[in-house]
Amino acid sequence: MSAETVAVEPDPHVKDRAPGDEPETVGSISKGVRSYLLGLGLAVLLTAASFWTVLGHGIYRPGVPVAVLVLAIAQMGIHLIFFLHITTAPDNTNNVLALAFGTLIVSLVVFGTLWIMATMNHNMMPPSHLLQMHPP
């Protein structure tokens, strides 16, 4: 009994995926092309939208940087899904965990720097006050 069951023990790595691996496109290249075209179309739409927020006048001026940031993050997501084939499927857990850690470090570096430097700027004495500080 044990001999047969061991023989068909599934390859434990059969479901692993490397980042960038094509999702099951063997024999159906049109499906792959369609997926890339969809990604390209969505990326073009989001790029056009972010240029429009700046060049058009449809958005409240002070809100433009936030709108551009949101559109940029959305477009990075599109690239990750359609071009790099990073998904949340179980076969992609390692890749997604690495990406999540990378995102954590990136946000710590960027927001940490901005926070620290803004605080230091805030605490710095204005140059006009510095000039008045001569020794008695």
């Binding site: 009994m1 047969e4 069951t5 023989a7 068909v8 023990e9 599934p10 434990p12 790595h13 692993d16 995926r17 490397a18 980042p19 960038g20 691996d21 094509e22 496109t25 063997v26 290249i29 792959g32 092309v33 890339y36 990604g39 390209l40 990326a43 073009v44 790029t47 972010s50 240029f51 927020t53 700046v54 060049l55 001026r61 433009v64 940087p65 551009v68 940031l69 559109l71 940029a72 477009q75 990075m76 690239h79 990750l80 071009f83 790099l84 390692n94 890749n95 690495a98 990406l99 850690f101 990378g102 470090i105 990136v106 570096v109 960027v110 940490g112 720097t113 901005l114 430097m117």
Partner: protein, 215 residues
């Protein structure tokens, strides 16, 4: 066919995932997985390098030292064409991945050539922008804003240059050595690198050029 007539072994394969080996007993992953994952880790560390350059730029973008600010020197038309070049280049790289997947030498070479030409167009446009700025006296030593701008955008340009050299190597290797597994692993890494550069460019054209022009 009643469920009881299904052979026990097939049953175990399809219906009982718990019978699979635990990850600790599974042994090493295939080479393709290990290489792809390792390169993915490298790319994320490269993204962290860019994050520090972005942070420096964000802090220094107002330190113009009396010189020009972003909205004085950025030309969005140029940036839009650069973006179009790099995006279609990334798309062509995806087409090349499909061609490599079906082992089609002719389409692999055509799509990789288009990838390279579009990447080169991007580089030339960027060089044109930089040389125009330097000719007007706005070189990297003009202000802290310009130093961080050239460092960030130039670092991306250096990556694209390295990617183009790698791309030429890949085309030659596909031509000379065919679709050997080791060459395909190298191509997997190259395509990841090229797509990642496009992601970084998304951040650059949004946060540097578009935000720079609007503020």
């Amino acid at each position: 066919m009643s469920p009881s007539s299904v052979p026990a072994a097939v049953n175990a394969y399809h219906l009982a995932p718990a019978r699979q080996l635990p990850a600790s007993d599974a042994g090493p992953a295939p080479k393709r997985i290990v290489i792809g994952y390792g390169f993915w880790i490298f790319l994320l560390s490269d993204v962290i390098l860019f994050a520090s350059l972005f942070a420096a730029y964000a802090v220094l973008s107002n330190a113009t030292a009396g010189g020009p600010a972003g909205h004085d020197i950025f030309e969005l038309r140029n940036v839009a064409i650069e973006t179009a070049c790099l995006l279609t280049s990334s798309f062509m790289c995806g087409m090349a991945s499909l061609a490599v997947g079906v082992r089609n030498q002719k389409w692999t070479q055509i799509t990789l050539w288009l990838t390279g030409v579009l990447g080169l167009c991007f580089l030339l446009l960027e060089f044109h922008e930089f040389s125009g700025l330097v000719a007007r006296g706005y070189g990297p030593s003009h202000s802290a804003f310009l130093s961080s701008f050239y460092t960030l955008v130039g670092c991306h340009g250096m990556h694209v240059t390295a990617g183009l050299l790698w791309l030429g190597t890949m085309m030659a290797q596909f031509m000379a050595k065919g679709f050997r597994p080791d060459i395909r692993y190298r191509y997997l890494c190259f395509s990841l690198f090229w797509h990642a550069l496009d992601i970084i460019w998304v951040a650059i054209f949004s946060l540097v050029y578009l935000v720079g022009v609007s503020t």
